[in-house]
Amino acid sequence: MSRIERLMNLTAYLLDSRQPRTAEEIRDKIPGYEQGSLDSFRRMFERDKETLRELEIPLEVIKIEADAGIVDAYFIDEGQYWMRDPQLTPDEQAALMLAIELVHVEGALAGADGLGLSPMKLGLDAVAEAKDPAIGASVDVDEITLEFFAAITERREVTFRYRTPGGEDSVRKLRPLSLANVAGHWYIGGTDLDKDALRIYRVDRVTSEVSSGPAGAFEVKSRPDIRAQIAGGPWTFGEGDVEVKVRFSPDVVWRAKNVFRSAGEFSDDGDGILMTLTVAEPANLIESILSFGVDAEVIEPESLRSGLVEHLKALVK
């Protein structure tokens, strides 16, 4: 009786059972357990339970009343075990398959060298479109990032130590809501329970293990858009819709496009290249506009023009 056969039968038995099963029943039913002493069964069963849990098979345990008194009983929750079919159309299958081939997610994930079992679990039968061999990207994932991801999906509050850029190290309690990789770094965003406000933390500044509370601890109403806040620049913070126009010398437009990305619309207005951008808080743009020196000029709104002039006047006193 091979171990793999025993594991298959154990999984099948627990999935097939309509009720939780005691260790005694399991020993009775699974070939391979009944031979040998009770002690050797217990050792085998412990090891097997651990293996199933390492594979993230949702093996649960509850107390039930049996002839021998209150004992542990085991079950696998089908709803938690089964992969639900996402019902992707052929186009969606091809697009997702191409994405998995283009972006290599490396690091702590097991089996990250091949595509693994995900395509079959997702029902990706379509073959990916041919990809451009000159294009590729890689994203590293470490254990802590994976912990945060699990906490987000299971809605667990997390506690960890965090070192600020200034070197201050303290404990943070967070309701984790979103996870983003921006410019090569992972960030975790959520509600900071001590500050009662949304905060974003860089995962590589976490200096301790992440400890997670019970699952289902909170409801998710909205998620912070980490990319917009980190990569989009500080002008996206806050609420509001203000249209800003900035004129650039043609020579610096390529750099302006690198800074403002797709957020800015560029057009030639005769005197230079005009950028139109809708922002939440125009004052937060001052710093970025000044990085272009005399090659950028705010045209609208007047409040931003005067704010920028004030900012500069403070420097010439």
């Binding site: 793999i4 056969e5 594991l7 298959m8 999984t11 099948a12 038995y13 999935l15 097939d16 039913k29 594979l55 993230e56 098979i57 938690q80 996402p86 992707l88 969606e92 299958q93 091809a94 697009a95 997702l96 191409l98 998995i100 283009l102 972006v103 997610v105 089996g111 990250a112 079992l117 995900s118 395509p119 997702l122 000159a134 294009i135 990207a137 994203v139 991801f149 999906t153 299971e154 850029p165 200034g166 070197g167 983003a180 990789n181 921006v182 410019a183 090569g184 998710v220 998620r223 980190i230 750099r255 710093e287 000044l290 020196g293 005399v294 000029e297 900012h311 500069l312 006047k313 420097l315």
Partner: protein, 321 residues
């Protein structure tokens, strides 16, 4: 992961998958599940002996390789594959979100809807919109073209915006290495103008042209790539920073020293790559940063601020309403 773990996780997906694809070819099963024919035969033989007591017909599995084809009979308990592990889920979502930013992905709408559907089946709504990967599309293209020049030993001419000088120049360089440091990409190269090795930021490269000439890589065998830093002409600057700018500085610069003060401000020392660079930085920080020294920078900052102010005064006069 041990062999039985690997095998169990494969079988829990392979059984329902083959059931769904009756008569699928042996080669295809081997390719998709990354196994040899021999391993597949062993798996099929194993499936044949598995089932649930008391082994009624509907609880027994039956599997066979018939010539070229694989057949597995359906059983209720393995009707669906084991769900994605959290690592697999993160990997699929990260790859999908990242690919939305990349050139070469034409069917963005299909990818977006695919990701939404995957999120929806993962765990009620707890994964929806939770993961994002921002990949800068343009340097990606540049990166690949540069990699080709490096492996082909081709000299390149670059239009480059220098951080220290805050201006553009045209240089011919022999590209040696492409590397990422703190989430930013750099090119390490021999610069013909400087007659020395230089590190260039990829986001500072405005354009480049690959020359027909190849260079002799062995001439640079002694090259040791440094960590990106402020460079040889750097000097130390002392600043007092307000709390907000302090956090931003810490994220973006290697600080030589940090002395926190009681009011939340901090006195920091940093290495400035050049006068134009630090001047521009101080202009941007405004009241959030106070220059402690060296003194000569005070004049440079003032002069630059006046130059920019002049832009606003002139245009206010010209376009008076």
């Amino acid at each position: 992961m041990s062999t039985s773990q690997d095998r169990l996780s494969r079988l829990l997906v392979m059984v329902p998958w083959v059931v769904e694809h009756p008569g699928v070819k042996v080669d295809e099963v081997c390719k998709r599940f990354d196994v040899t024919r021999q391993q597949l035969v062993r798996d099929i033989n194993l499936i044949m002996v598995c089932g649930v007591a008391p082994y009624m017909p509907d609880q027994l599995m039956w599997a066979d390789i018939d010539g070229d084809e694989v057949v597995i009979s359906p059983v209720d308990y393995f009707e669906r594959p084991l769900r994605l592990t959290r690592g697999e889920a993160l990997r699929v979502l990260a790859a999908g979100r990242g690919a939305l930013d990349m050139p070469g992905v034409d069917s963005l709408a299909a990818l977006k809807s695919a990701l939404e559907k995957v999120e929806a089946v993962l765990d009620e709504s707890s994964a929806r919109g939770a993961v994002d990967v921002a990949l800068n599309a343009d340097p990606q293209r540049l990166r690949n073209d540069l990699a080709t020049a490096i492996s082909g030993f081709r000299s390149i001419e670059i239009e480059y915006f220098g951080v220290a000088s805050q201006r553009e120049s045209v240089r011919v360089v022999d590209p040696l290495e492409l590397f990422a440091h703190d989430g930013r990409w750099y090119l390490y190269a021999w610069c013909h103008e400087a007659r020395d090795y230089r590190v260039f930021r990829l986001d500072g490269i405005r354009s480049f042209q690959v020359s027909e000439e190849s260079f002799d890589r062995s001439a640079y065998s002694d090259a040791v790539r440094p960590e990106p830093g402020p460079g040889d002409e750097a000097f130390t600057v002392t600043l007092r920073l307000a709390p907000g700018p302090m956090a931003w500085f810490g994220d973006n610069f290697q600080l030589v020293s940090v002395k926190p003060e009681d009011d939340g401000w901090a006195t920091v020392e940093l290495r400035a790559a050049g006068v134009p660079w630090i001047t521009q930085l101080l202009i941007r920080m405004g009241k959030g940063a106070e220059l402690v020294g060296p003194d000569f920078l005070k004049e440079a900052v003032k002069a630059e601020a006046e130059r920019i102010l002049a832009v606003y005064c002139e245009s206010a006069g010209a376009g008076s309403r």
